[in-house]
Amino acid sequence: MAAFESFFNSFASPSLVIIISIGVFLLYFFRMRMMMQPRVSFAIMALTALFLVVGSQNHDFFKIITKGDNMPIVIMIFAILFFLWLAFRQATLNDMRLEQGLPPNEAESSNKKVLVWPDLVYPEFVMTVALSAAFIIWGVMVEAPIEEPASGTRAPNPAKAPWYFLGLQEMLVYFDPWLAGVVLPGMIVVGLMAIPYIDTNPKGNGYYTLKERPFAIFMFMFGFLILWVVLVIMGTFLRGPNWNFFGPFEYWDPHKVEALVNVNLSEYFWVSWLDMRLPDNPLQRELPGIVLILIYLLIVPAILARTVLKKFFHQLGFARFSILVVLLLMMASLPIKMFLRWTINLKYLVGIPEWFFNI
């Protein structure tokens, strides 16, 4: 048990968790056929369950995963593994059919119309009864949590947002609230709404497929799984007092200190590289970062339009392409900033605290 615990604790850093998640994601994406074989997918689900069962020998771990409000996240982990299998299993089978020149499986019965009563109404009724029963059992077995009465002066540690917003709270480690709490969530909403208008690929409408729309699926799944679901899981189970990171079997010590050694780009630029004093004028001081951001938002799209995304530029036209690229760059800004933090301890690319303008 001790070996088991220390093995998993040794992965205990945000960078490893995210890098490993990205690795697993890429493995899934590029070895989809293999990963979607029922025995592979179900073995992964079984291993996840085994991890939780064995891990529950640890008292603190058991308490965290069985806490009433954390149960949805445990359920989410299995629900996502299962539904990803269900979706991509059908997608890979359809892709094989398409390769042989056959229509997707759904087409076999898509022209057959059936009467909604009883073919749809009965299953709906069964589902209603089954779910009602399940919720009543759940409600009887687990009490809804209630803590001490509210006190505006005694803040709990850690103070966590509701679980579905923990991805945003995790972003606060890397970005200031105006970005992590307002601009990036706003971009998520705008991005979701824009999807039907920037994805002009007519294929894959009404059936599961991966081969006919790999780019759209890759981007959406990366955002959903890595930048949302993984961050929610991490925020629930691995972030403890002071939002410090803890291994799954590490005791949540409120006195754990983490050295703050983050440095602004302006300091790297003027002090370390040019051996000068920081300029007094904030705009001049932050010029290197501002230039970098402008390059990122203006020059990089132009380069992408001529190189890797050339195909899309021609298909989509200028307006759609610009929106697509800005959305993708905003999405990529989070992993980029994470990476800069882990490698060179970068605090802000542009840091003008005088105006709360920190990037």
Partner: protein, 257 residues
């Protein structure tokens, strides 16, 4: 059987159900057509579209959970007063004094699962490409429903008025004060000013508007209560009606052409 037949022939019965027992195709079609709730469905649907492995029934489950939340929520409202003196004690009393008191449990677990179900529903709609023409608009209605679901859950989180509630809402609403233009700690806060007088202050910014104060206090509790029990459910219900209507009008659940 004859008794049932007799009942089905009474004037009362026939005034309610205007068709015979749904065992013939005609009566089955009439069953779906003449009932306002079943009328949300078309009379006939694509066989591939109603397969469980295609939709996962996730939209339906989300709707079921919305109904569960509405029913248990109304029951909870009988016992809950949204003021600082009463809120917390009313919640405690739910467990200790109200018979069969699992309404709060049903409401809370249902709320968590509704958030999860919306995500999964969105995932399946994306993976079947069902947002593509002609369903672009319905996808957008869906995105707003997703936001409303999160907001419903967020406003409800405050109501028990315990430590978990007030600090989760404090953490969440602190983001608002960093709004780039209308938050007092946002980079653009100083832009909105008349002469030397800033218009965006802790007592006038968006967070203040959300909480009706500088802190999560009595006014915020009332505000969240009204949003949670009246405004947001009405908006969500309305949009769901449009959402279901559009599913029908856009040609039913999607399928290959």
């Amino acid at each position: 059987m004859t008794l049932l037949k007799k009942i089905a022939e009474t004037q009362v019965w026939r005034s309610i159900f205007r068709h015979g027992y749904p065992s013939t195709p005609r009566n089955r079609a009439l069953a779906a057509l003449s009932n306002v709730f079943l009328h949300l469905h078309p009379v006939k649907a694509r066989k591939s579209g109603i397969r469980l492995s295609f939709t996962w029934c996730m939209g339906g489950i989300t709707f079921f959970l919305f109904l569960l939340e509405t029913i248990t929520g109304v029951l909870l409202m009988f016992y809950y007063r949204p003021t600082i003196e009463y809120a917390y004690n009313d919640i405690i009393a739910l467990r200790e004094h109200v018979p069969l008191g699992i309404m709060r449990e049903l409401h809370r677990w249902g709320a968590h699962m509704m958030v999860l179900a919306v995500w999964l529903h969105m995932l399946r709609v994306f993976l079947t490409g069902s947002y593509k023409p002609p369903r672009e608009f319905n996808w957008n209605i869906g995105v707003i429903l997703l936001l409303l679901t999160l907001l419903l859950s967020f406003t409800g989180y405050l109501l028990p008025w315990d430590q978990l509630a007030i600090w989760a809402i404090t953490v969440g609403s602190n983001m608002a004060r960093a709004h780039p233009v209308i938050g007092h700690e946002g980079p653009g806060a100083s832009l909105l000013a008349v002469g030397d007088v800033s218009l965006v202050t802790p007592a006038s910014d968006i967070r203040f508007g959300l909480l009706a104060g500088r802190f999560v206090g009595a006014a915020a509790l009332l505000r969240f209560y009204v949003l949670h029990c009246v405004a947001l459910p009405l908006a969500a219900g309305l949009l769901m009606a449009i959402h279901f209507w559009r599913v029908r009008k856009d040609g039913g659940i999607s399928g290959p052409m």
